[in-house]
Symmetry: C2
């Protein structure tokens, strides 16, 4: 019985998302190295193994430590935090580890401080402008390559990018445009350096591109993560249908304010996160309501959305037609705006048969 906010997982939908991306990657001869920052769960990780996945991406040394008991090939897709060099050395002793760098300075630090072979990707900024080297800054790229050539434990693997600006898209064609641009940037880089480094690979990230794009050029590897759950943001971007979203928050109703079409739920910023989105019709929202059905939930309930969050409270707006259906003690299901952030806060998932799936 659900008494407190719980993050429900629809295992069937989740496995279907996992299998679909694995099939797509196989069909396009792409290596799939899924990003595990979304689910951060050893058990859900095993569902990927069953789909044939044998290497993963994470975004922190802590996550790499957590998964290293069951996965022996991990890329930490985050600029190296040199303060964690001891932890990195311990990992590199046990597993095949790839790191990301974007400066010769960090490469030099690793050269001097790494005790075991590690793979190095150079992070390329394909337009998101968060991290990485802009592709035409070949001086910066070559200054790193020069350090790597002199460091026998640092094995240059190739170029890696994350087109996070697909999150601003609102249609499949916009996603495809960004994806094509990233692919052509990475293809050019490969062309330029592959005589010298015939083994170099290119690796692309982001769930929107990987879900929607069809043409990956000469890309070798993809690293989508969010697709394991999807969420309202992915739906807004056009990279997923509502029916693909595999997690929903179950929250107790604690008060009904019929006069203002509102319900108060036990479920706030410490459960959902404060991640919001701007809905064309409803403005800033924090989630959308669905109704429970046998082993699952319905499509979105029109006009019913999470409009405000405090620390523990959520305020759900309901249309007139719905307000009479709810009373204190009922459970409302809400699809999250950003499943990575909600999962991080909830610390576990619950299946429809009440099983708890732990995570980091």
């Amino acid at each position: 019985m659900i008494k407190r906010p719980v993050l429900l997982i629809d295992e069937k939908k989740c496995r279907s998302n996992i299998n679909q991306m694995a099939r797509k990657a196989a069909g396009k001869k792409l290596t799939l190295r899924p990003h595990f920052k979304t689910h951060q769960s050893l058990e859900i990780g095993r569902w990927f193994k069953e789909a044939g996945v044998d290497r993963i991406t994470v975004s922190s040394v802590t996550m790499a430590e957590y998964f290293s008991g069951e996965w022996d090939d991990i890329t930490i897709a985050f600029p190296v935090n040199i303060l964690e060099i001891d932890e990195i050395n311990l990992l590199a002793e046990r597993i095949s580890l790839n790191l990301l760098i974007e400066s010769a300075e960090t490469a030099l630090f690793l050269k001097d401080n790494i005790d075991h072979d590690i793979g190095i990707f150079i992070k390329i900024d394909v337009g998101y402008n968060r991290t990485g080297i802009v592709p035409d800054n070949t001086d910066a790229i070559e200054s790193i390559l020069k350090v790597l050539q002199s460091a026998d434990k640092l094995k240059f693997r190739g170029f890696l990018s994350h087109a996070g600006h697909t999150y601003n898209c609102r249609s499949r064609s916009e996603i495809i445009e960004i994806s094509n641009r990233s692919v052509s940037i990475m293809d050019e880089l490969k062309d330029r350096y592959r005589r010298e480094y015939p083994e170099l690979i290119t690796s692309l990230g982001d769930t929107p591109s990987c879900s929607v794009a069809d043409d990956f050029g000469t890309t070798d590897e993809i690293r989508p993560g969010n697709y394991v759950f999807y969420d309202l943001t992915q739906h807004q971007i056009s990279s997923a249908g509502i029916g693909d979203i595999s997690v929903a928050m179950a929250c107790p109703v604690v008060a009904v304010h019929e006069e203002r079409n509102e319900i108060v739920i036990y479920g706030g910023g410490v459960h959902f996160s404060k991640e919001s989105m701007t809905d064309d019709e409803y403005g800033v929202i924090y989630g959308r309501a669905v109704a429970p059905v046998h082993d699952g939930w319905t499509d979105l309930i029109p006009g019913m959305y999470l409009k405000k969050l405090s620390q523990e409270h959520g305020i759900v707006h309901l249309p007139d037609s719905e307000i009479a259906n709810y009373k204190p003690g009922d459970i409302i299901l809400i699809l999250p705006v950003h499943s990575c952030m909600t999962g991080n806060l909830m610390k576990s998932y619950q299946t429809f048969d009440g099983r708890i799936i732990d995570r980091l």
Copy 2:
């Protein structure tokens, strides 16, 4: 040594905040029942005990359970979640417990299901419009009182409000205006019902009012919480100075992008929360940088702020004059926008001498 994002606590400032509110309450003959949802730490709770506090407020049954080993008088300032009735009964057996209700329906449920004496506050909506009964809806108030009269275990304690709309204020005078209005609403309610209930008390919440207001009318109890740490939001509201903020996130620098005046830090939405504020000068920001000094930190560094957050990454904007001062491996200190949300994510605090303070 700090290697990963850590929430530093300045124990001296924190104790000073605790002591100052205790002195203010004592001076005005107000009972202080501080809200512990901000720090959620048994150890920090003991600092309140040393300042003479003997009763507390929390916002969930889970928090009440956590604190009930050291505190025997707890108000759960959240509409009763009737699904947790078993946990409520277990608590009420051991400690003096107060609950909030805002409907006769919930009062009836408690009447039928409570095994031990509990105190009941009726939640009054003084203008925040989140929860509670609007003060002129005396029918709703009296329908609850009627149920309470027939339920010998439900002890009516009085009226409770939370003027959360002070968070929209931008000056002390605006806070005082809202506070005075809340006080006068609660004073009137007390007047109306005190012949029948001579023992009834009124209880007001919110850190801005409690920090700034001077006149509390006939209010009996105050329940501020955030003041233990304060944060940039409280500073923007005008309820605290920057020098009163007692927590700061320490984050490793992982990349420097001099060409766009940006530093990438290890410290993202899973550390800070995605709580933002709109700064007059810088637009939407997620934190402000300060510089470390012996046993503390400086005032705000002009022009240096957290401008963007991903899951694990933060992007700090720096002025030209600062950019040369930072390199990968350095630690940057950031004052949080909302210390309650940041504390919830970080799960512990670290003192300047490296001691870890645990929390729920």
